[in-house]
Symmetry: D2
Subunit: 438 residues, 4 copies
């Protein structure tokens, strides 16, 4: 190894990723903001909607509300508090998602069968736990850094569940032939400029540094920050759109095995995939089911609700490939995290505003499938105890997605953020951006 | 054939089973009574409970409320009414149970995913259809007999669904670790007399007449009335009790293949059956989940929630067998239809009041598995059109049960009534009474 | 009950069905005849064919050869012989079919995975057991009647397996795209007379006696002989043919739910049934796979390889129904057991020779589905011990078939013979004859 | 990027991996050697063994023999030969494994149902194709390089199938309670030295070059050769042994969810995993089923037949992790490829001979699971046409294994060789070596 390289890598302090927690005041403010957002998301729901669970991978809205509360009770209020009286003795079982270190979770596919506790009871549960957490934060007692970190983790955990609440609900609603709209909305004026031509951002071979920078909150799976060698590559400036994807379909994309990974082709045949999830053909026209109900398919919107296999097949058809997560992060690292997030109120990916010759929509709109399997970064160490089950134990069989979506909270996303889903999963707002080796 | 026999059989007028329908006034009264009962059954429910469906064979309470209404709309209001405007165009699809002649039913296992229409909307639907049906009845126009018959059929159909609503709900509730009670209730004073010894009613060989007598409403599967030859047999005076069944269990009943039908033994091993459905062992004692919550197992209550295989295995262990439906009906034909039905408010089988030396509990308490497969009676003809799908198409793979249960409407049961379930089904109030060949 | 009837039924001696066993000489002759037939059936096979098992319900030829031998070892040689040395200690496990009283049978779906013992070893096993059984028979010692009965039972058991060996092999072969022929053969000259018109044999209401007559061997499920009351009915003189069935298909038979039992319609859709098993359409013509390979479909041959559901749907389409087993036996009871059995060498049902105005093909050609579920006759008692598992424990969920087929041994069939299969089963030579209520 | 680094990477000629094919003489020699080896492997088999297929992922020996022959016919003899007459028109369908570009492969799970063609016919098929290929090679005509490359590929393809033939057969045999031995053999004298203590080879951070070096044959998935940055790590000198793994088991390894990846823990519970595949406990002692039959478990043999999940859980329990494939290759790159391969005749991993303080058993004995998912190397391009389906389409959901096993051909293995299996797969000779981050 030459000495220049050695110098470059020595400045990676292994603990730098552990950012200082927010101040208790800032944390209390954020706590109130995030927690109330979960309830606001449920305002359009009928009581009957709170129990919907249309497949095992999803959870009912009520369960999301209770589980995120259970998280604070279990990991913030209960530790180091031997006399802690739980709000309800059965909730440890009912609302544990997957923490084997805590006990045996209630079977996931049956979450929709918990008509009790009622919505009203779950909201009362939230209120009580909120009071207790805020009292803890505002007590003036010296709260230890670990406790503050766990509250901050709990808030990011809740923001993840806010996104899931919407994607899960969308999936459940679409099973109902009435195709209920989560929230009706009028179309915003469409941009008048025509389809942007894609361009390519080229990056030469280089040694880069990846992972959380340590100046703000991150999940453990973004650490440690580490060096990585990149071959020369190009990244598309634009997301693949519905119109692009329709061209793939028209060219027989779903009928040509040579475009597909073997496992993906098996699924195409078994599941009868012939279009992205939520696309429907009626009287010769394509429609998409959205959180605002069934809408005409819009060609210049980014395509979404693709599995990894569909994204990969599209890229192969287009003579390109998916980017690795290292490539994506290298390009995204210095860009501002702005885009179509949940606060836009659109709840659906939107056409690009900017011209196609500059990078656009890296953040927001759709999660972008990468070619990288979800693996530990070199030197990764999960936290000790049950909270270490948060991320690490899922590091097999899944693929990394980057950039956040139209139902992510803007404050929750950062360039180093690693989302992960199974390659067959389609119910997230998952799309793609092309890359090429140079 | 000797001439005496010929004479006996000649008096079976084939059409006699078609009883005259009730008068329009009586029918309107009955309509109001039955329809309001469905809503009363739902009074203890939280809105969240209305969507519960814990297995494909069951339906959510809301679906029962809507489907029974759809039945009147489809089979009473719509026929011969070309301009009929349905309450909602999608309901024909959503609330059709299995009538292929009407269209394609919404998939049964997904009924619990219909959060919309809401409970409020379904109740409004019921109200509108009720108004239309009652207006039809009260219009003074000459209503044809077929229409009146269909209204009466619709009411018996609704009474079947009232029973299912409770048994389905019980199944759904018991999946929830909170074990919700449908309705709390205090134990009624227990009878003080000790366990009745069983006795046997003996019947000599004879030619009997089976099937609906034609003097009141019946389903088509109870017709035509027909002769049947019986070998000599004995029928137990009492139902098999929890205590009896516990003796079978203690004697290794669930571990001894020689006691079981082959298909039943496969299920015992695959499903891990080791006690009736809803029995739980806690700290050395047996409990039963009931519609009033978890209760101590009571030895002198009739055992219930058995599959056909368990009933059959018990009978074999006891050196007896299950009665055929012809044997059961022969004994029951002249007895008054009284017993522990839904109007008692117990919602659970109760110990016998009478002494064991006389027949007791033939009606109410538990449906009694018979040894008879559910087959058409000789000369059976289902009704023409979609309504002919009501019973006939299920005449394979199921077994007949007789006598009604603690959640049946008393007015709905009669000696010739043939209920039918698959031999593996356990979620009905299904028990047994022994028989022997002489 | 009138006295005439009483008199009629009193002459049913309950034990009359236990026919005297054959003499030891006759039994030894029959033993040799039957046992060698099993090997002859295997003469056309390649060693590679002996292990074929294309679905769980079927067994490989080698397994049939070994299991039938195990039957004699287990039920004839071993009882009352404490020092008996089994041929191989593992065979009790490997070749036990379903006798829980003997031990735990090797899992049925894996029988095709037993490459060892080899074919040569199994033939040696047969030879040794044959020597021992024949020595027992010829020893001159007084052999008890029970032992002789079991040998006779073992021979009928083996004849059942000879039929299964061929139907199982046919199923396994047809999975291979090469469509191997079990035995090539030239078409025999076709009868020149044209299609027989069907006629009906009418039977008035009467009290009949059913079950084994007791003058020859029978299985326990044919006993006890008992009285049964029949309503007036008519039975078709001819079997339903391929041409008849094609008319049903052409009329949309497989696409019209109103013709089907509910469970059958589910299977039609799930399995994509659109023709009898083994029918193939190539370039506009229908072909049938037979034990002689793929042959043109012949309209006047009896249709076969139907499930119960297909037979039942056809009958409904034809405005008729399937006969009950009582009706069938009543008509067949006094007819000679002649027909197209395995000794004809055809191995496939053949067109009727006789004119259509008289009953034909009641025996041989195809097993005829009846409308009767497989249930115990009144007063039925299985044998004590493991051998009692032979028939009784299968008396649920199956339907009775009558008459034998083109691969049955003529000597094995009698009017009271009750064969039974699940209503979904199609791999037997199963067809139908119509009936009507009068 | 500093210039020193740039220089280092510029020398990676992109086409260097395409080694010159062997001379036609050398290739003909190798062809004869490899092809005859397949038949030699089958010498211990009974004809009955050739059809065994105990799970969908495996294939029968006869199918391996035919498929490897089909490969030469399809990819060597047929291309550019328009009048080519195939040996049998159906073989293109029957013996195509997964090449969608060639046609529709016969369903994988049914390969065991092809009793025809017989073994004799398949051997005749091999002989004919061998004659044709050798004639092509020896014709003196100028054979193009692509054709020679395909023959060489076909030979490596056949060597892969030779290994699979043995691992598949082992799996099929162990389902038979007779536990047949593929080949009996006497134990070789055991080394007398005691268990080697493991030591660690440490490697500092560095930029390495990975992938095929281009001086000999390689598969496309080993290309292109490329730079990769490594963090500092240590690699264990020894393989994990049966004794080591038993300590994990004794410490509750299979009962402690905190040691497992989530998907692995699900499998542990669903499949009841409690020991490596082929381990059996009898009377308090552990045994392993081997290709020589059931043997006592030997503590100092390398553990094998582990899934990725078990290897990963063991590593976590041991406070270590699995190496990445880049780490493994970096250490192995310059070592001689010697070890316990198939030519040793052991057919089972053997205890290490060398002392534990030096690297041992990197090649042979067991395939070593790595922490790397099977992904394309940067710039990877599969071959054009159907032959491009060989490796590339499997690059999802699988993990890389390195080093070859006791049933690999020594000439087939090299440091850059990437084997790949699903993380749940256990039927290969798969074990592990630990690594640690420094």
């Amino acid at each position: 190894m030459n000495s220049a390289l050695k110098t470059e890598t020595q400045d990676l302090a292994p603990e730098k990723h552990l950012a200082l927690p927010l101040s208790t005041e800032a944390l209390a403010r954020e706590y109130r903001r995030v927690r109330v957002n979960s309830l606001r998301l449920c305002e359009p729901l009928a009581i009957e909607d709170f129990g919907l669970q249309a497949m095992a991978n999803t959870s009912p809205p009520k369960w999301h509300l209770a589980h995120t509360t259970w998280f604070f009770e279990t990991f913030v209020l209960k530790p180091d508090n031997p006399g802690y009286e739980p709000w309800h003795p059965a909730f440890e079982h009912l609302f544990n998602s997957y923490y084997n270190g805590i006990g045996t979770p209630f079977p996931r596919p049956q979450r929709g069968l918990l008509s009790r506790p009622t919505v009203e009871e779950v909201i009362a549960y939230r209120q009580t736990i909120d009071d207790r957490v805020l009292k803890l934060l505002e007590s003036g007692h010296e709260t230890d850094a670990e406790c503050l970190r766990r509250i901050e983790l709990g808030l990011h955990h809740e923001q993840q569940h806010q996104e899931l609440l919407l994607t899960d609900l969308k999936y459940s609603f679409h099973v109902n032939p009435l195709l209920p709209a989560y929230r009706r909305q009028t179309d915003r004026p469409r941009p008048t400029n025509t389809k942007k031509a894609n361009a390519w951002v080229e990056v030469d071979r280089r040694l880069v540094t990846l992972g959380a920078t340590g100046d703000r909150f991150c999940f453990d799976n973004e650490t440690p920050r580490h060096r990585h060698y990149l071959q020369p590559f190009a990244l598309a400036t634009t997301l693949v759109t519905n119109g692009d994807f329709l061209a793939f379909m028209t060219d027989g994309g779903y009928r040509r095995p040579e475009l597909w990974l073997a496992d993906g082709w098996d699924l195409v045949r078994q599941q009868g995939w012939h279009a992205p999830l939520y696309w429907r053909r009626q009287e010769g026209n394509w429609y998409c089911y959205t959180l605002s109900g069934l809408r005409s398919m819009t060609p210049d919107q980014p395509v979404c609700h693709l599995s990894y296999y569909e994204a990969d097949a599209y890229a192969r058809w287009a003579g390109a490939r998916l980017p690795t997560e290292g490539e994506w992060e290298t390009v995204a690292a210095d860009l501002p995290v702005v885009g179509n997030f949940i606060d836009s109120g659109q709840l659906h990916p939107q056409p690009a505003d900017s011209a196609g010759d500059t990078l656009c929509q890296l953040f927001g709109d759709v999660w972008e499938w990468t070619a990288s399997s979800y693996s530990p970064y070199p030197g990764f160490q999960p936290a000790a105890g049950a909270i270490g089950e948060y991320n690490g134990k899922f590091m097999s069989n899944q693929m990394v997605l980057r950039g956040g979506s139209c139902v992510s909270d803007a404050g929750h996303i950062r360039p180093s953020y690693r989302n992960f889903f199974y390659p067959a999963d389609r119910w997230q707002f998952s799309g793609l951006r092309l890359a090429r080796s140079l």
